[in-house]
């Protein structure tokens, strides 16, 4: 259990009860703008189509 929490070392300096969103990098853009237009985002990392069932990695 200890190792599970070690990676959260940084987070325990932050106030409780708040939501944190990782900062987006300017990377992994769609080269084809028409593809981005159809997928509704410029960034591949933000393309998350609803698959109709539980999230699967």
């Amino acid at each position: 259990m200890k190792e599970f929490f070690s990676e959260y070392q940084l987070l325990n300096q932050l106030p409780l009860g708040m939501a944190y969103v990782p900062l987006q990098e300017f990377t992994h853009l769609y080269e084809n703008l028409e593809e981005a237009f159809c997928k509704g985002t410029l960034f591949k990392d933000l393309y998350k189509p609803f698959s109709g069932r539980r999230c699967v990695r």
């Binding site: 987006q24 300017f26 703008l33 028409e34 981005a36 237009f37 985002t41 410029l42 960034f43």
Partner: protein
């Protein structure tokens, strides 16, 4: 509305989408140089396409309305609900 204007309109929509998306990114990353270059490039391209559309088919927005001939095309061209965009 012919095929050619439809094609140009689609190009403008795609460019407008890219500009809007990168603007949203710049909202939270106002100092990102790469994103600014991306914005500048595609915003210029979008304006060029909109100017091209205005010259050929009439202005899409007031920013591109200009005197062409005797009448003010912005007012005299068919409105979208009059089949102006179909």
């Amino acid at each position: 509305m012919n095929c050619e204007s439809q094609k140009l309109l689609k190009e403008i929509s795609i460019l407008d989408f890219a500009v809007t998306e990168i603007t949203l990114f710049l909202d939270t990353h106002p100092c990102n140089q790469e994103a600014m270059r991306y914005f500048t490039y595609y915003n210029r391209l979008k304006k060029d396409k909109m100017k091209e559309y205005a010259d050929m088919y009439g202005p899409l927005t007031l920013a591109f309305a200009q005197q062409t001939g005797n009448d003010f095309l912005w007012t005299t061209q068919p409105w979208p609900w009059e089949g102006g965009m179909e």
